[in-house]
Point group: D2
C-alpha cells in the first residue's frame, strides 16, 4: 500500500480528503495533523468517520516519512514549510492556494503579500486533471484548485478549447456558493441566524480565484461575481460570454460533447423535460462530477455556460485525489465512484 | 372608509394584498374571490390571517360595486374580463401581467399570444411609484409590476436616471429568486425534496419580465438570467453594466443618494463593516423596501448594481398598495410600515 | 410620549424590542446601549432598521432618567446592576432570566450559582400576560419569559386551567427550536455548515426553562426535551400528558376555546383540511400570536397539546411590549399588530 | 453476476435501491420499471445516475426472469401482484409496507383495508438485519421496513434487548422527519413555499409505523409522534421510556455497546465535547449507519434514547440491500460503504 499523510486534516478540505483516502483501495493513511484538535479522534471532528478509523490528530512536529503528503492548511502555511515537507516525502498534493499561480508577481497582486517560496511555483502542476492530465502523470508536486476558479474554468473550457468566444469581450462569471466554502472556522457572518436564507453578493468583482481563471483559460477580461446562497456544499458558475460570429448551438453541442467524452467526471446536463434540465450542485454533494450546460441566444451571440460542482470534491479534495491517481498511474476515478444522491 | 375587493385572493400576491388591506387604516375589504377555495375562510388558506378576519372567499359572479378593485388573477384572466370589472368599479389595481406593457405587439412577442383587450393597454399606468409617481396620482387604472422586472428596474434606476452607463454595451442582470415567485400552485419541480437547496438557472435569458425593463428603462440590450435558490420570499438582482468614460464612484454615490432621497422605500446599503454590507432580500420579508447597492471597478468601468426586494411586497402587493395610496392622495407609506425582521 | 431606553440592544431580543418600540404609537426610544457596538448606528447591527432611526448605540454609563427601562442583557447582568437601574427609572421590563423565578433556592438549583439580588425576586411579576394580566396592570417590575418555557406553559395552560390532566403522571414537553434562540453570539456549533439541516437533540432533559414551567403551571413532574432544527425564528412545543378519567375531546375544545377567547394573542389551530391544520411557528415570524392545537387519544387518555410561537416575539420582546402595554393601561395589543406572513 | 430487477424504480426508495445496486460488486441490474416514466432514461429522473447507466424505465408487463426482484411500489401494489412476481424470481426484497406485518388483522386495523394476500404474510421475514440476521440468511422473501419504525425500533433495541425498561409505562417516540419521506409525488403541502422551514406535527399519534414497533419490540403501550422539519433526508427518533428500578447509566452503556458491537451499521454517539455529541441525521445522508445515543435522568428513571438514520438508506433501500447481502451469503456491508459527508 502507498502511504499518505494529511497536514491540516481538521478543516473541511482536509476532512474530505481524509474520507476519500480512508476508502481508497490503493492507499493507507498514516497520519493526520491538526493544530487545534491534536490528540482528538478524527471522528470527533468529522463525525461521518466514526467507526471508520481510530486515527487521532497528531502534531505536525511528529511528521514521519511518507509516500504522498496532502497539504490542507490555511492559505500561506504551505509556502513557509515547503522545504521541511519535501524532506519527508517525494510527492505532494496541496489543496491550498500557495502553489496555484505560476508567477510570483501575479501572486503578490492578488494575495497582497510576497510569496515566500517563489522558486517552488514552477515546480507545481496546476491540479485540474481536465486541463493538465498529461503533465500530472509525471508530476511530483501538484497544487490545489480554487473551487470557484474550477467552476469558472470548467464552464469556459469547452468554449475556450474550441475557440468559440470573443476574448476581447468581457466575460462575466456569476458564481453562487454554499457556506462550506468559507471553511471550518466560523465568523460573525457565518452564524446560522445571519447566514441562513441569504442571497449575499459578497464580492462583486476582484475575487482571488479570478487569477486562476486568467492563468488557466488565457483570458484577461474576466470577472467573478460571488454570491452566497443557502446551501452547505456546492458551487454554480454561470458564465456569460460572446460567441464569435457564426457560432451556432450545434457548434456548442460539439464542443461540450468533446470535453465530456474526454473527461470521466464531466457531464452535459441539457434536457428538454423533467426537473433536472440544467446543472445543479445539490445533486453533486459528495460526487466528483462537474456538470456542464449551456444556452446560446442566436439573436445576439450571448452564450451562457454553466458549471456545477461540489466545492469540497471537484473543487478541492476530489480533484486532489484524482490528481494523485494520475500521478501514481492508477485509474483516474479510483476512490471517486460515489454517484451523489437524489433526492437530497 | 374606502371599499376594496380582491379578485383572486387565494394566490400569494392576492393573499399578501389582502393582509395589507385588512390592516390599512383607510380601507375596508368588502370581498375576496377565489375559484378554488370558494366558501372557505380566508384564514384556512392564509393561516396568518386567523383571528384577523372572518371573511370567506366568494365567487367572482357575486362581485358587488366597490371603490377599488384589486386583481390578483393568473396571467391572462384580467384582459378577458376587464369590461365586466369596470362596471363595478372606477379604480383598478392589477397585480398580474395583463396591462404592464403598453404595446400590443411587444405583448404578443413576449407572451406568445395576442392581447384580447389591446385598447386598454394605454389606459393603465405602470405601477412602480419610483418611476411614475406623478401619473399615479391621477390614474384610475394601475398595472402590476413583474417582481424580477422591479428588482432589475430599481437596480438600474440610479444609473439610467443620472445617465451614467453606456446603453450600447449589453446589460446583464443576474437575478436570484425564492420559491414563492412560482405562485401558490405547485408543480413537480416545486416539490420540497427537489426544490430545497437548489441553485437552478432555470432561464439563462428570454424571461418575460425583460420586456418591462426594456419598456421602463429604455434599454434594449439587456438580458435577465434567472436562478432559483433556497428561499421562499426574496429577489436579488445583480446588474452588470459599463459606465461612461470618466464616471467615478463619487458620481455613483450621488446618483444613488438622489433616488434614495426621493423615494421613501429605497435605501442604500453599502457598508464597510458588519454583516449586512450589501442589499439582501432575507431581511426584507414583509417589508416594502428596495435596498440598493453598487460597486464600480474603476480600472475598467464595470459597474455592479444590486437591488434586493421581497417579491410579494415591493415586487407585487406592496407596490400595488403604494400605488393605491398615491391614486387616493393618501400618504404613500400608509399600511406599508412594517420594517422587516432581524434575524430571520 | 412615554420615554423608553433599552440596555443591551445589540442582541436579538433587544433588537426585536427596539423594532417594536420604535413603531409603538405611545413611546419614544431615548437610548439603546451596547457594549460591543457602542458608537455604531443601530441599523448597522439591525439592518431592518435602516431609514427607521438614526439612533446610535450608547454606553451604559451614559444612561439617563427614563420612564421605562427595558433590559435585554445576557443572563446574570441585571441582578448585578438592579440597584443602579432603579435610580433612573420607576418601571423595568427585563427580558433576561434574572428575575423570572421567585425562589432564590430554585434559582440556584437551576442556574448553578447564588442569586446576587434575592430581595428583588419577589418584586418582579412574571411577564406572561396570559397568566398574570391583572398583576401586570399594577406592576412596576416585570420579568422576561423563557421562550421555551412560554411555549410549554401556553401548551399546558388550557389543560391546567380546566384541571383536565393527571399531575402525577409525568408530562413530557418536546420542544423544537430555531437558531435565533442561541442569541447573537455565535459558537462553533452555530457555524452555518454545522448548524444547517440539523435535527439535534441538544438537551434531553434538565433545561433551565423547566423551572419556569414548574413555577407557573404548578407541575413538578415535567421535563423539557430540546431539539434544534433548521429554522431561524420559531419554537414548537409538543406536550404529552395524561387526561383525567372521563375527559373527552369536547372538554378539551371547551378549555382551549376558553383561553383563546380570553387572550387576544392565543389562537386555536385545529383544521380538518388545508395545509395548515396544526400550529406552526413558520407563519408566526414577527407576530405575537401563540397558536395552540391538541389531539386526544380517547382509547388511552394520551393528550398531545401543541403551542407554536416566535421565540423573539411571544417568547421575548413581544410579550415584554405586551406587558408594558398592560403596566401603562394601554391597549394590550398596541404595537403588536403585525399578522405574520404567508408564505414565508 | 447475480441479476436484479427493480419494480417501481422512479420513486425515491426505488431510485436509491437502483443507485446502490448499480454500484454493487456482485449484482447486475437487468430492468427497472416505472409506469409514469416508461421509456425515459433513468438518469432523467435520477440525475445523479447520469453517466452511470444507460438503462431506461421499462414497463412492468415486460418483466423478465431474474435472480432477485426488488419491489419499490406504492403501498398496496405488491400484495396484488405477488403471485405474478414469484413466477419470474425466487427471491424478493420488498421496500413497501405490504408484507411487514405478520398478522392480517393487525394489517387491516392499521391500514384500513383487508390484506389481499394474507397467506403470504408469514413467508416474509421482516427486513431489519439488526433484528433478524439469522433468519434473513435463509430467507427467500424479505419485507421492507418503515423508516420511522426503524428509527424507533433501533432507539429501543438496546433497552428492550437488555430488558432495562418498564413495559407497562407508555413509551413515547417523538420522530422528526425530512420531506423525502413523503415520496416523489408532491401534494399541496409539499410545495416548497409551504414546506420550507416547517415544524409541523402532522401526526400526534396513530401513525401506521407504530404497528411495526409493537410487532418487533413486543411493546404495546407505545406511540409515535411525527413532526416534519426542514430537511430532505433524515429521521431522528427521540424515545422516552422508564427504566426499571436500579438501572444505571453504566447499565445503559453496556447495553448500547453490546448492540453496537454486534451490528456493523450501529454506532454510539455520546460525546462530552465537540459539535456532534448526539446522533444527527444530517451527516448520515447516503450512509447506512444508524447512530444511537441516550441519556438517563437517574433522579426519576426517565431515559431518552435517540436514533438517527437516513430514511432512504437504513430506513429503506440501505436495509434492503443489507438484507440481500445476508440472503446471498455475501458480506453484510457490501455496496453500503459510503461513510456520509461532513459538512453537508
Amino acid at each position: 500500500m502507498t502511504t499518505v499523510s494529511i497536514i491540516g486534516g481538521s478543516g473541511y478540505g482536509g476532512g474530505e480528503a481524509l474520507r476519500l483516502l480512508l476508502d481508497h483501495p490503493k492507499v493507507e493513511v498514516n497520519q493526520v495533523t491538526s493544530r487545534s484538535h491534536m490528540g482528538e479522534f478524527v471522528y470527533q471532528v468529522h463525525p461521518n468517520l466514526r467507526k471508520r478509523t481510530q486515527l487521532k490528530f497528531s502534531d505536525l512536529s511528529q511528521l514521519e516519512p511518507v509516500d504522498i503528503l496532502f497539504l490542507a492548511q490555511p492559505h500561506g502555511e504551505a509556502q513557509q514549510h515547503i522545504e521541511e515537507y519535501v524532506k519527508v516525502t517525494s510527492r505532494i498534493v496541496d489543496l491550498a492556494a500557495d502553489f496555484r499561480l505560476h508567477d510570483a508577481d501575479v501572486y503578490e497582486k492578488w494575495y497582497g503579500e510576497k510569496h515566500v517560496a517563489p522558486d517552488w511555483l514552477s515546480k507545481f502542476v496546476y491540479g485540474l486533471p481536465e486541463l493538465h492530465r498529461a503533465e500530472l502523470a509525471t508530476a511530483n508536486y501538484v497544487s490545489g484548485v480554487g473551487c470557484n476558479a474550477t467552476a469558472g474554468n470548467l464552464a469556459l473550457l469547452p468554449l475556450i478549447k474550441a475557440d468559440l468566444i470573443e476574448r476581447e469581450v468581457p466575460i462575466l462569471i456569476e458564481i453562487k456558493v454554499g457556506s462550506s466554502e468559507g471553511g471550518a472556522e466560523g465568523n460573525s457572518g457565518s452564524h446560522h441566524p445571519e447566514r441562513a436564507s441569504v442571497i449575499r453578493t459578497f464580492s462583486p468583482f476582484g475575487h482571488r480565484h479570478t487569477a486562476e481563471v486568467t492563468q488557466e483559460m488565457g483570458v484577461t477580461k474576466v470577472s467573478l461575481t460571488m454570491t452566497s446562497v443557502d446551501l452547505v456544499r456546492g458551487v454554480l458558475a454561470t458564465a456569460h460570454a460572446q460567441v464569435k460570429a457564426g457560432v451556432t448551438t450545434k457548434d456548442l453541442w460539439k464542443a461540450y460533447r468533446s470535453v465530456s467524452n474526454e473527461n470521466p467526471f464531466l457531464r452535459i446536463v441539457k434536457e428538454q423535460r423533467g426537473i433536472y434540465r440544467v446543472p445543479e450542485p445539490k445533486i453533486l454533494a459528495g460526487s466528483n462530477y462537474a456538470d456542464l450546460g449551456f444556452e446560446l441566444d442566436e439573436s445576439n451571440g450571448h452564450v451562457v455556460s454553466m458549471c456545477a460542482i461540489d466545492n469540497l470534491m471537484k473543487g478541492a479534495a476530489g480533484s486532489a485525489v484524482q490528481c494523485m491517481n494520475l500521478m501514481m498511474g492508477w485509474d483516474e476515478t479510483l476512490g471517486l465512484e460515489f454517484a451523489g444522491l437524489h433526492p437530497v
